[in-house]
Each structure stands twice: as C-alpha cells, then as structure tokens.
Symmetry: C2
Subunit: 199 residues, 2 copies
C-alpha cells in the first residue's frame, strides 16, 4: 500500500536503485529533498536532465565526460606516449584527483573473470593493443586493482602487448602511506619487504 | 581540479548532499547513473521534476503528499477522532507501512531540545491543541521516539492537552519482536519487566 503520492513513490523507487541507497535510505533522502525543494530537489532535477543529455563516453579512452574525445584525450599538454590502464572510470577519476599521472588513460570496463564469464572480448583490450601499435605508445602503466582478477587481467594484457616494443610497468605494492603494520595483511607485508628501498 | 565535465561535476556535488551519500558514493552513483542513462538517469530527472512540482505538505497534519489535504486526512473511512502524534514524516510513513493505525496523524516536525534551541513554538504543537479542541478528538497516541528528547516532548504535550478531555496514550516499551534479551539495554529490560503481561 503506498503511503504517499504516486510521483513521490516513483522517486523513492528510482532513487533506491542507486548504489549505496536502499529503500529505507531512499525514503529518507526523498523527505530531505522535499524539505529542500527549491535549493536541492529542483536543481538536482535540472542537473540530471543536463547530465543525461550531455554525458558521453570517450571513444578513445572510455572516460566519462561531456565531450568526445574527453578533456584528457584532447589536452595537448598531456604526455601522449604514456598510457595508464585502469579497470573502471572511477579508478581514472581517483588517479586524476591525486594528480599523479600526466599521460593519457585507457579504461578496460572491467576485469577478466572466468566466474562471471567475462572474457578478453568483453573488455577494451583490443582497442588498447591498437592504440599502442598505432600511436607510438612508449609506456603502458597497469593500474588494475590488487585483486586476483585484476592481476590476472594485468598478466593477460602483458602477454597481449608483448612484441609491440612497449615498456610495461605496474603500480608498486607496499605499506599504504599512513598505514600501520599491525593492521596489514601478510601479502602486503611480504610485498613491502621484498621491494624494500635504500633509506 | 575537476576530473570530468562541469554538468557531471555539478550532479556529483548536488547528489553528495543527500543523507547517506558522501562525495565518494555520489561519484559512484553518478557513474552508475550515466551507465544506465536511458533506464535510470533520464527517468530520475523526470521523476524529480514531477516531485518538485507536485509535492506539498498537508496543511492539516504535516504529512508529505502530492495533494493537500493529504490522502490520509481526506480519507473518509479513517477514524477521525484518534490522532497519532509523530516527530517526523518518516515516522508517519513507517506506521503506515506497518498498517497499525487506522486514525489520523499529526506531525510535530521535530522534538523539543534545549541544546538545539527548539522550543514549543518551533513545533506544530499549537495546531495539535487546536485540532484536539475543535475536532472532537477522543484519543491522542504519542508515538515519539523513545529518546530523552522524544519523551520530554511527550510529557510537554500531555501537560498542554490536559483539561481538554482527551485520552492520551503512548506506545508500549518492551522487547522488540524477534529481539534477543542478551543484546538489549538495561532500560528496555526494566521496562519490559515492569509492564509484563499475563501469559
């Protein structure tokens, strides 16, 4: 039985499909939105319509932007011969926020996973090989998550790019900055110890 | 430094103001929305515009609905002489979902709180007294949260309605259905013991 008007029920139902919101938190969010109708709900409706109209996926790297090619791919000041390969757009955004990569990106759109039936043809691996071959890429930085699937994918890409004369690197494993040894898993500690550096 | 287009950044910024979403989960939500542009983002924009246009607050009870008086206040089959007093609209919705109250409601819009500077005039207490006096209300059920502020407010309302010839009741305290004694606080156990019933 609906407890409120159909337009509000529909908003609750759609909002509860967002990751991180369930039916209960969607209801709380909708009440908050209606309380701040002029300052939040109305602007959000406009922002969503805007984004729905303008958001697109970059045909070169797979980034989400309001222009195609995206701002990064069309920025002439960025190093064009270094590609950072990430699983998802969210990873690209995280690296950009940190400002630690001055080259271009390539978004795979996932990882290889036998369990979920994701094979190489389901990911943007073919287009990666093509970019490396045709655009004179000198270095490919593999920035996949440090999970089993992420590392499997990294190995697969390394095999696939072999013979194209490109340097392949991966992110360092080790103790996170600010991290406490006591709370780290054995794998991380072993990696940190193995890759120790002169002080 | 923005990592994506201005329309998308603005959507992230607005979404992160929702309760339960921070900047990080708002970004994840926006990526999900853009991935499901046709099935989620566009309908959500329409639903928000609809809700912004139609949502209103019932001038009688304070419920949020798309009609004024709300569906509950204008339903002739509901017992008009029993009022259930709640703190917020979310509480009213919770009771409606449970289907445990067949009368009408009255939303206070908060609780008395000396710390937050909320006094009786900041809540819909005057309009409650007026409804009780003018509409021949026979019973007022106080359904405030079982917090210190909620119970203070309940006591204040009881004092305020004294002499109007209305029965005042409150929700029972006790062991939640499905709850385990071992995990309950002392206050709840004491209340449950004190209000024990013949079996």
């Amino acid at each position: 039985m609906p407890v409120t008007g159909p337009e509000i029920e529909r908003l609750i139902q759609l909002l509860s499909k967002l990751p991180g919101l369930g039916p209960r938190s969607a209801r709380r969010a909708v009440l908050q939105l209606i309380k701040k109708k002029e300052t939040l709900l109305a602007p959000l409706a406009v922002a969503m319509a805007d984004a729905a109209e303008k958001a697109c996926i970059c045909s070169i790297c797979g980034n989400v932007d309001t222009q195609d090619p995206c701002a990064i791919c069309s920025d002439p000041t960025r190093e064009p011969t270094t590609l950072c390969v990430v699983e998802e757009v969210g990873d690209l955004w995280a690296l950009e926020r940190a400002g630690v990569h001055k080259g271009r990106y390539h978004v795979l759109g996932g990882v290889l996973s036998a369990l979920d039936g994701v094979g190489p043809n389901d990911l943007n691996i073919g287009s990666l090989a093509e970019r490396v071959e045709k655009n004179g890429i000198k270095e490919v930085i593999l920035a996949m998550n440090a999970t089993v699937d992420g590392q499997t994918t990294a190995h697969y890409i390394t095999d696939r790019l072999e013979g194209l004369g490109v340097t392949i690197s991966r992110l360092a494993h080790g103790v996170p900055v600010g991290g406490e040894l006591d709370y780290l898993d054995d794998g991380t500690l072993a990696a940190a110890m193995k890759s120790r550096r002169p002080f």
